[in-house]
Symmetry: C2
């Protein structure tokens, strides 16, 4: 049985990324401890982990809350994402072999299929996956981890701003980027990457409506039936 506090931080992270826990939600130690059937200290350690990841903000003597990036921070997130992917684009245009390009093309093809099937969710995930794969091809683990962290924060924005994507358009841009890079037209590709992210940002419309305070136990139910069921049952028994 591995690191309990890490397991719990992962569980919470998944819940946040899947938007079952929305920004601003209070993450009370005692409440989470009861829900997971562990001691408060393990929960606190998990929250500290999420805090350094930027998914949770911890206020002294007030507790932990799901992070709620400002519009300024949202722009910074996409600006950083652009910078990272532009940099990788430069590297790939010089170094990537045919197999690499094929891998990217195959991924785009998969997403195209999903769109044809009308599978909205799969198309979304594959769209995200494209960027991940793109970075991974650079072969720099540290860079990959950093990129993943920044991507995680974009999920916080999805709850704050209602997204209205045009998947076909985004997919088209992915294809264009590949083609431009493969032919060595780096500058155009980088501009397209920039435009691509701006496109995503424009897809976000500020949602002014107040979010209801979600019930933690309900939000975390999917996780608990999976790997923490004994603790969960014990918690409900009280």
């Amino acid at each position: 049985m591995g690191n309990l506090s890490e397991q719990i931080s992962e569980t919470l992270k998944t819940a946040i990324l899947e938007q079952r826990l929305i920004p601003g939600t209070k993450l009370g130690e005692r409440e989470l401890a009861e829900i997971f059937g562990v001691s408060r200290i393990v929960v606190r350690q998990a929250l500290i982990r999420l805090g350094t990841d930027g998914l949770v903000t911890i206020e002294r003597n007030r507790g932990a809350f799901v992070a709620k990036p400002s519009l300024q921070e949202a722009l910074e997130i996409y600006d950083t994402l652009t910078l990272l992917e532009q940099g990788v684009a430069m590297q790939l245009s010089e170094r990537l072999d045919a197999a690499g390009w094929d891998k990217l093309k195959a991924h785009v093809a998969l997403q195209a299929e999903a769109i044809d099937r009308g599978d909205h969710q799969a198309a979304d995930e594959l769209g995200q996956g494209f960027h991940t794969m793109f970075i991974a091809l650079a072969g720099n683990r540290l860079l990959q981890d950093i990129h993943a962290q920044v991507v995680q924060r974009t999920f916080l924005l999805r709850s704050l701003y209602t997204s209205r994507f045009d998947y076909c358009n985004l997919l088209n841009e992915h294809t264009k980027i590949i083609n431009l890079l493969e032919r060595g037209r780096v500058k155009q590709a980088m501009e397209l990457i920039d435009a691509h992210h701006r496109h995503v940002v424009r897809g976000y419309v500020l949602d002014t409506s107040e979010y209801p305070t979600v019930n933690l136990k309900d939000a975390l139910r999917p996780e608990l039936s999976g790997d923490n069921e004994s603790q969960y049952l014990a918690a409900t028994g009280t």
Copy 2:
């Protein structure tokens, strides 16, 4: 009295960055708890914080150790640093105003003075500071934080590989980068940034000698006001 575990993680971080705690050093919970005069739990929380920062590696049931990056990881660190600074270089060449360029030039001048004085340490710190200021001028807090984290890891490398810098040369390169960017010669500047970091890496010579296991209390003595642990609280918090 602020977050005790954060205070301690900062203290440890400083000690690591100043190479009083060298890579591979075991950071025993009980020992640190006694040294700082706190409970084991706060120490563990501090170690978790450093773990997510990459300055400490935690092995299950074995404990925490000052991180010891492999040569591969060392290359990745500098590769990432290059990518970040190249990206910022592109942004600055388009957006930075005269005041910004002046600020950079003034900083380089300061470093030149330090070199003239023969103040090795100040020159070193100012050299690092140049890169930090460079990133800060992009005005992206997230990017700045990410850069800072990567820079921190380079300090681990300094203990592992003996450095043999040529400060004048590095300083010269800083000046050149500024001039190139100000005149809009982005591509040349980016190549110079790449070369600059490779220059630093070449300055590192693998040091095969074994490091002695340092005594934790001795390594942390500068942070503590006296022999007794209880004085840590008096010295730091009010």
